[in-house]
Symmetry: C2
Subunit: 324 residues, 2 copies
Amino acid sequence: MNIDMIDAAAQRLRGHARRTPMLSSPFLDAIAGRRVYVKAECLQHTGSFKFRGGWSAVSALSPDIRSKGVIAFSSGNHAQGVALAAREHGITAVIIMPSDAPRMKIDNTRALGAEVVLYDRAGEDRDVLGARLSGERGLTLIKPFDEPQVIAGQGTTGLEIAEDAAALGIKNADVIVCCGGGGLTSGIALALEARAPSLRVRPAEPEGFDDVARSLASGRIERNPRTSGSLCDAIITPQPGDLTFPILHRLCGPGLVVSEDEALHAMSLAFARLKVVAEPGGAVALAAALFRKGEIEGEAVIVTISGGNVDGEIFAQALDRFPA
Amino acid sequence: MNIDMIDAAAQRLRGHARRTPMLSSPFLDAIAGRRVYVKAECLQHTGSFKFRGGWSAVSALSPDIRSKGVIAFSSGNHAQGVALAAREHGITAVIIMPSDAPRMKIDNTRALGAEVVLYDRAGEDRDVLGARLSGERGLTLIKPFDEPQVIAGQGTTGLEIAEDAAALGIKNADVIVCCGGGGLTSGIALALEARAPSLRVRPAEPEGFDDVARSLASGRIERNPRTSGSLCDAIITPQPGDLTFPILHRLCGPGLVVSEDEALHAMSLAFARLKVVAEPGGAVALAAALFRKGEIEGEAVIVTISGGNVDGEIFAQALDRFPA
């Protein structure tokens, strides 16, 4: 993994991924006690940064391999990112989803042209199912984060942050990134190492699922005790990746951990002050900027809102419980 | 009013107003039966396009006049746009607001540094109050729409639409604009006349407050029977402006009229598919694109989401009543 792969991914994404805006509000600055800049990846195609990695990986395949199609395991944002990237390349995407995944996510992934294969979490092994489908049809597996071209795609977010920070004159800032398996965080960290080395990348996670923060503290990969039961579903993974963790360990400052309620509160503030929709997992970095200010060193803070794929009911709960 | 004034306003706004993104979703395209592009002015500073006109007007004043401060009448988006523009120029803004305006809007306007003067709708004449304050303190009145530099500022939205349409290869499209007094619509129409003359501007309004549609049909200024009682409060005005109407009449196609429920439905779809927050009045153009497709001629449609300043309760109602 290096900056050249990220630059190459940026070339491939040009005209396909959206260049998302950097938003801000004096009201958020007042809460955080410093300037807050928000990289709104919820405005990316399919509602999350995952389209970048999906496009990067699909477009990096050789044409004859690519033409056979791709396969991914996901019940959420990665599914939609890969589905749209595949459709725009005119190839098949098979997405293996648990049969109890939210109906809307299944419907959306189908509507984006993917062939959805449902499996029974209790009775079937998705890896066996995936391997059979790949073998029979020659599909290429697109992993959600531990895959160099996916990391390179997510890293294009970091190139844009570096450009915007330079234009805004931001030199001393913590860059807080919503972190699951570490694809986005490691990609941004590599991009900023090369293009804005004075900025410090900090992963943000929800309480109870802080495998990355604990892994950074101990210096080795630590697991989460559980991987379900969080509203922040989009960024819950068992542990950091074998490819992503060494990058995180080398380049990132200590992890920041927020409560689920703080993530919901940040969603409500993003609604009221930025006019964007954040999903719970996509709001943990903003929550850290607003509610963990004592743990932040920078004069300014840059945060990702990494996705906005949230059900209306949960969003309405956030607005109701935490009126801005 | 001419394109040179809009270009000059764009120069003054550079580095101050946000260049808002043009968003899209295949799900919206499917509903509309054509490509739908959304100019997301809800992401503008203060949550609506009004910051453009406020900044344009304040920055166009001569320094000695400007230093005495500005005054505006508004209970909503214009208030916040003028307040922030004044604060960033380091001058006083006096905003005259009805004492029964929503507490949050009063608080926000104050928090943006404005001096808020409340008046009693029943017992006081706001024009007399405003004239007294202006006279005593030398404040310059910034009108909400019928003012050349305000129209020029709103017209910068049209310059960006023209640039983005060219980049996207859009040649045959209706450009639907949420329309109150006509400042944004006339500004965009003037910009597109000069820079993208193949695009047709269409005003959009809520049922019962379709003064512009009726005025365009009759060829003379028509009034609304009432000017309150709509969720689309941000775009309810008694009648088109004396400056704006001749521009609208010369340059715009027939008006489009949607119901309040259709506006709420469009808000829910903007939430689910674009991840942005639209207020009811800011969603009427998107509603027209989605639900009045038989009245639209273009191969594609470009719509403004003109603002996102909506209470959480109303937003939650829209999500609940019209799940996407």
